[in-house]
Amino acid sequence: MQEFLQYLFSGVTNGAIYAVIALGFSTLYSATDLINFAQGEFVMLGALVLVTLWSQAHLPLWAAFPLTVLLVAAFGMVFERVAIRTVRKPSPILLVLITVGASIFLRGVAMLIWGKDAYSVPAFSKTQAIEIGGAYLLPQSLWILGIVVLLVVGLNLFYHRTLTGKAMQACAINKRAASLLGVGTQKIALLAWGLSAGLGAVAGVIIAPITMSSYDMGTMLGLKGFCAAMLGGLGNFWGAVVGGVLLGILEAMGVGYASSSLRDAIAFFLLLLILYARPTGILGKASTQRF
């Protein structure tokens, strides 16, 4: 029982990390119908900018956090303006390829700026691991879960209750129709990129105390976050949380009850099974309803 709980906590820790990254994917997808494969690199930027602001500029963590998010969000907007909007014939596959290229580019630039070493930052709260039934959970995992839930509630309110949020959804469903109805589609796309880059930065900042931050951390995390988003249903915010936590728990149980050398294989095999049974993800709506 003690072991089961510990596997569960380990899974929740990893899963919450995947979930917060999955949110970034879903945010952009909800507004632009795009999948950004540089999302993992936005996470990496968030973590490394935080490291710089905290250790070089000596800002306290509570001040460095929002500043990091603003900086990376601004970078996301610049990226949209420079690399996405300027494409003359924007077909989905071309834009996705641009984001793949951007991820390689960002990794290279980050290696030049921050070097190849890993960095660590302190946890948000200084307390020891919390003991529950003989198993231990890091307070930082609770911080991550709490922030993820807050973000999901906020994002749902924004997308369903505000005019801008509804306009964003309209753009994703049909850009031309939205434009005909007076929605500034270019501004919306810019805003969506800023939002998803900012969310990536939030992910980087809150996971930096658990993982170490380095220039190459984004690739695998981005991939796992993408899987989590797919698993829960792309574009569905609660789905991102469910998908992320489920993926994390599957991995941890794979380690605990099968073999640690098979953990990725087990997790991804179950992922395939779930997607086979429900191609739209656990909480995703059938795509026919959207278009």
Partner: protein, 386 residues
């Protein structure tokens, strides 16, 4: 018209002359210097090895040149970045051999790249000193292939010998799922019986995994007397933190792969009490004054820090030792590669950064068990065990 044409002809002749000069120039310079090639993974996944190796090699050459070179000839180093890619390593090795015409090659930094380069240097009969740790590099012995890095064999032997004195009988292994972890695991499994140790658990983790508590929890069920974690940063730092989080209270041993100050910085207070084998460089200042290796180590560290500020590690020492061996053997050979090789093979008692080298016809690594020392992390810094 006629005039324009003659201008063109003159211009053409001048260009051709320039091209000839440009082609001859390197050859003319080469005759005045001893060229030594370097192949290091300066960027890419193994940059933590290649970067200090490149710096150390350049530093050694500068030092020799400032002192007047070897037999009046300056050393010239030609270094290529292999990015830890065996294919690139082979093509750069060919470039060094055929186009740069070097006397000897130091590197590559990783075992796969080294194994890929060996057939090329064997064909060309170029003395070759690898900076990679793999045992198969010099086993079996190949005439022109040497290496300066300590290997897993000596690291594992050092850990197990120490464990035996501590009465540890059962160990759990937690290895990273890459080549470094794999090769360490092989040695850990192979040598265990010789020290009366049983391996009761074998787990692995991914290089960028954010949390390893599941593996450690599973391992706790097997009740090992100690856990050995085999990996390079940042994985072992996360393992150390997770072990603290779980309050495991099982002694934790690491590999020589984390014997750098970066590990302490990353793991914070979670690394207190962790033990690992290390080249003497991490604890050079703690060695007793009479220790035979201390002056060599202190000299290397002072020079590296003076030039690059920080980042001194045992890895750079592999290239430093390689240069040391080559330049000592090079004296008076007049650049004859076969003589150079013979003199390296017969070299005895050369005190280097990694240990004392005693080469022979059957031993092309030359390092003994004195190349590692068991260290412990205490109060956020290294301390010698015992």
């Amino acid at each position: 018209m006629e005039r324009a044409r003659s201008v063109k002809i003159v211009g053409g002749v001048l260009l051709a002359l320039l091209a000839v000069c440009w082609m001859l120039a390197p050859a003319a310079v080469a005759a005045e210097t001893y060229k030594i090639g370097g192949l290091f993974s300066v960027t890419g996944p193994a940059s933590f090895l290649g970067d200090p190796e490149k710096k150390s090699m350049e530093m050694f050459a500068e030092m020799v040149n400032a002192a007047g070179g070897i037999n009046g000839k300056q050393l010239e180093v030609v270094i290529y970045d292999t990015e830890a890619d065996p294919t690139k390593a082979v093509s750069f090795a060919n470039k060094l051999i055929h186009s740069d015409k070097v006397l000897a090659i130091i590197g590559p930094s990783t075992t796969p790249a080294t194994m890929a380069v060996i057939p090329e240097v064997e064909k060309a009969n170029i003395p070759f000193i690898s900076c990679a740790a793999g045992n198969k590099i010099t086993l079996p012995v190949k005439p022109y292939v040497f290496k300066t890095a300590q290997s897993d064999i000596q690291a594992v032997a050092t850990i197990y010998a120490y464990m035996k004195t501590q009465g540890i009988k059962k160990v759990g292994l937690l290895c990273v799922d890459d080549g470094f972890g794999q090769s360490g695991k092989e040695q850990l499994l192979e040598q265990a019986a010789a020290y009366g140790i049983t391996v009761v658990a074998e787990e692995s983790y991914g290089k960028t995994d954010p949390d390893m508590t599941a593996q450690l929890t599973k391992m706790r069920l097997a009740k090992p007397d100690a856990i050995v974690c085999w990996g390079t940063n940042p994985g072992p730092a996360i393992v150390a933190r997770n072990a603290q989080q779980l309050q495991l209270n099982i002694p934790l041993y690491m590999s020589h792969g984390v014997a750098s100050p970066k590990f302490i910085q990353l793991a914070g207070d979670a690394c207190e009490g962790i033990m690992l084998p290390s080249g003497k460089i991490a604890v050079a200042g703690l060695l007793p004054d009479g220790q035979h290796q201390k002056p060599v180590l202190m000299d290397y560290i002072d020079r590296f820090n003076a030039k690059y500020g920080s980042g001194v590690s045992g890895f750079g020492g592999y290239a430093w030792d390689g240069m040391n061996i080559i330049t000592q053997a090079l004296c008076g050979t007049n650049g004859d590669k076969a003589v150079l090789r013979d003199r390296i093979e017969n070299m005895k008692g050369l005190v280097g950064v990694s240990g004392t080298f005693n080469f022979s016809a059957v031993e092309h690594n030359g390092l003994g068990s004195d190349s590692f020392v068991m260290i412990k992390i205490q109060n956020g810094t290294w301390a010698l065990v015992d």
